[in-house]
Symmetry: C2
Subunit: 348 residues, 2 copies
DNA sequence: CTGAAAGCGCTTACAG
DNA sequence: CTGAAAGCGCTTACAG
């Protein structure tokens, strides 16, 4: 086998082989295989083509077909490391739904890592391999700008941009209001908010704003958000028992860490302090105790993003730029409970 | 804009535009752009081509290039749902490394869900879009068979097959021996093994065999593996305090559940029972207490798999079928501790 | 050093 | 109803 012949191309059967075997032209074979209704081809001919194609194990070349059609039926999914290849948590089910919807309509997903090497992805985004693309949160502004200036249909997923591009976002303000009200209803008055300093995502300010809104609405005083390491926060909560009786953590990963840090300090949840968070993603159900969390509508996000994108791909220029904002839903578990009269005085 | 013109194709600049602008043929432009060393093209000509290409924003078409070269520089990653789109835990860093190595060598990854709809993926695997593929554990035997019968270069990742195909696996037997010995050194004698009934993976028997081996080696009696729900197991451990002083769980997810179930029963870890597991993946470091776990060499798995595949893609027919088996490494944390003389008699 | 031409494997007006 | 031919955008012997 010569090194210039890819193994995958060995003795490949093409449309020519099928045509020859049938004694027909490739044009006719193509029409039969693509079920062009306007070309009325007699049933017997059709059957023969189908039969021969099957017999020969003919598979149309994706590359040739895409080139001729000027359409690849491939959608790019753009994401930025250091996020893991597939961003953790919420994206699992979102991706699954995206893939489900798109593959049902004949499209394939291709993932693109947005590395520092700008030329690499810029190339990929412009080399005709995608019919459209989905941009996940975390993508650098340069990507969004480039797409805004190009004709490539795209939808931003869980991402906000200055440039007007279609997007699917979540109502984090409302989610934050929901979880804060939940704590207030449990009798909490001193409720802290634990921000994630590493997160430039749009939800950061919306969640904090929602928390502030719900607190003000109930006539409660908002505190300066906590930050830094969970260990330091837990230690402080231990030292200052009356500081807060509940903490809302910006997202599930830091909430999980916080539970561990509180455990190390001997503080019980929700006995000494209630903990609630955002993102109803693994492992919030398996923590000790299970975490009360605001669930993002991940499946719906995936579905809407996929549909919006396909609309643009299949009817370019028709769909207006729209920003969909989906509601979140509170899932109450055991990490939040009624406030105690005397905050962990027992222990301290 | 006509609906027959994809938005992404609008006013696309091709090699013809560049050639015309330069007053050269497309052949020459192609040579310059591909840096064909044998064709000695004068520096001034080269510069002009490069300049014009840049000025026009020319990007070679992936489809045309791949079709002409009979090489797509795209690698398929085959995985099976119900596994999440990206299988959880260990695959995050494995995928990241795969992608890193492959993209450094000019290849892109494309993910393919192996759904029930067999024709769909069979099509994709044979339509010339991939130069090779990686098959992740969980893929149905039908996929492996098909690949074994085709000329497509492929490597099985963390997957065992009847058919002789190149693969990267882990030494789960040895990993199990390591963790069992660790518990034995801590003084444990009654060590249980908690199997995952839903897991047909090859590691299942190897891990159990390694456990049996280490137990026998120390002259200890192996018990029948536990199974079923973690809640039931925890309840049983509560009822029968002397049953075991340590449990090895088949994988991290069930270990995380087990910790929660033990907590519900009021059993302390490692005070009442030590817990160890496999897969040093999120969230084993954040659990209460942090889990002792056998780490799979995920980064090395990714690297080896990528390299083995590229060898086959770039020099077809040369590389022999090989099965690489990589060592695992024990990471000791707080969920395992010395055996207690009187097993949680305090409580029961 | 450069280019005309064939080829990669399809699709699609268009003409018969 | 069927097929010759042009076209999708490249690469690569081959000839000059």
């Amino acid at each position: 086998m010569s090194s210039s012949t890819p193994a995958s191309a060995v003795s490949r059967v093409t449309i020519n082989d099928v045509a020859r075997q049938c004694g027909l032209s490739i044009a006719t074979v193509s029409k039969v295989l693509n079920r062009r209704s306007q070309a009325r081809i007699p049933a017997p001919t059709q059957e023969r083509v189908l039969e021969v194609a099957k017999e020969l194990g003919y598979r149309p070349s994706y590359l040739a077909r895409a080139l001729a059609n000027q359409r690849s039926h491939t959608i790019g999914v753009l994401y930025a490391p250091p996020m893991a290849l597939i961003p953790r948590g919420i994206y699992e089910s979102l991706m699954d739904e995206l893939d489900r919807v798109l593959s049902a309509r004949g499209y394939q997903l291709m993932f693109v890592r947005l590395t520092d090497h700008v030329e690499q992805w810029r190339q990929i985004l412009q080399d005709q391999r995608f019919d459209g693309c989905l941009v996940l949160s975390g993508a650098p502004p340069a990507v969004v700008e480039m797409l805004a200036g190009s004709a490539m249909p795209c939808v931003l997923v869980n991402l906000k941009s200055e440039t007007p591009l279609p997007s699917v976002q979540t109502d984090d303000f409302d989610g934050a209001v929901q979880v804060t009200r939940h704590l207030i209803e449990l009798g909490h008055q001193k409720i802290g908010y634990y921000a994630d300093v590493n997160e430039p995502h749009y939800s950061a300010e919306r969640r904090h704003a929602g928390y502030c809104h719900a607190m003000a609405e109930a006539g409660l005083t908002t505190m300066e958000p906590f930050g830094g390491e969970t260990a330091a926060l837990a230690e402080r909560l231990k030292r200052e028992p009356g500081l807060v009786s509940a903490v809302i953590a910006y997202q599930h990963r830091i909430a999980v860490c916080l539970l561990q840090s509180l455990w190390r300090q001997g503080l019980s949840v929700p006995g000494d302090v209630s903990v609630a968070t955002f993102n109803n993603a693994y492992p919030v159900e398996q923590t000790i105790p299970p975490l009360t969390a605001v669930a993002l509508p991940t499946v719906e996000m995936g579905r809407r993003a996929a549909e919006m994108l396909l609309d643009r791909v299949e009817r370019p220029g028709e769909a207006p730029v729209e920003g969909v904002v989906l509601k979140e839903r509170l899932v109450v578990r055991e990490s939040t409970g009624p406030v105690r009269v005397s905050p962990h005085s027992r222990r301290s």
